[in-house]
């Protein structure tokens, strides 16, 4: 089995325009990614390494541009690790339902600008969306819209297949 976290980090490096790909190892049964840092101790964990890459690429706005949005970004980064990884079929319905309510009035997770939270949540939720029927995609209409926007955002998708999203509703009478 290929390690998803390593593929996500490789895609993130490309999105950030980092020229020289890093070499990662993994740790423990859960294959937690590890980055051997030249000038310090090794960095452990997807989110920790991802935040480090963003700083290396000098894109601090991807971690939020105000105190409030920085906190929101961290909250969704933690959510992606704790709730999306090892998500059962039952959990996934709760995740989609909650996220659908949250995204009702938002284009991006932390408001009106794209952040690292959108990128990692997109990678993390991809397998869940892949399993949805057309009708379910419409049921979670706000998640679907956000997902489709991120998957077409320039150079984020890389290692993942495009998921087909209808752009007009067909089950229009259905309440969401």
């Amino acid at each position: 089995m290929t390690n998803m976290a390593l593929r996500e980090l490789a895609s993130l490096e490309k999105y950030l325009g980092l020229k020289k790909p890093n070499k990662y190892s993994t740790q423990g049964d859960k294959k937690v990614p590890v980055l051997q840092n030249n000038n310090g101790p090794p960095l452990v964990g997807l989110v920790t390494i991802a935040c480090h890459l963003v700083k290396e690429a000098q894109r601090p706005e991807l971690l939020g541009d105000s105190a409030e949005s920085r906190a929101v970004v961290q909250q969704w980064l933690e959510y992606s690790v704790t709730k999306l990884n090892s998500c059962t079929k039952e959990d996934s319905k709760t995740v989609l339902k909650d996220l659908n309510v949250y995204l009702q009035d938002k284009v991006y997770l932390a408001g009106n600008q794209i952040t690292l939270a959108d990128i990692l949540m997109y990678y993390g939720i991809h397998p869940l969306i892949l399993d949805l029927t057309i009708q379910e995609k419409e049921q979670y209409v706000n998640v679907t819209r956000w997902f489709d926007h991120i998957q077409h955002y320039p150079s984020i998708r890389h290692h993942l297949p495009v998921i087909v999203v209808l752009r007009n509703r067909i089950y229009t009478s259905r309440h969401h």
């Binding site: 009702q104 009035d105 408001g111 009106n112 419409e138 489709d148 955002y153 007009n168 229009t172």
Partner: protein, 168 residues
Amino acid sequence: MALNLTINTSNPPLGALLAAEHVKSSVQVSVEEGKDTQLLVSDSVQFSDSNSICRYLARVAPAVGLYGANMMEQTEVDHWLEFSARRLCGQPGLNITLGELNKALSLRTFLVGHALTLADLSVWAALKGHNEWPIQGESFSHVNRWFSFLSSQVPFTSVGKKYTTKKA
């Protein structure tokens, strides 16, 4: 080639002003305040209708992508330009129109394709200038999200601030 846009300050053409802001990196457009809205292309060619001005600006700056990425998107953009001119500008009773717009926006971040086009500029401008909009907006969550998302982006913030405070 320098273009000159004169705007009627008592009824500023927000869509045309936004289009001018978006294309200014590739085309030289100067904006002047005056009595009638008009885009001066040359001595013999002028456009006075906001949609015509938008279309012209989008076409002389194809790299900006305001007219969509293909023929299908171009047709969709035309649809929304007509929609904003006929169904939004100065029309009372926005309920049905907003309902349609709301449905169209439920699965879309932008009206056409995956990026900003004239469709967004023109519909946003028509709503911004409509006095029923802020009150009606509450009940149309998708239109609301789309509208406030655009309102938070440059140059919507600057154009919105500069040209709508003058209106009573």
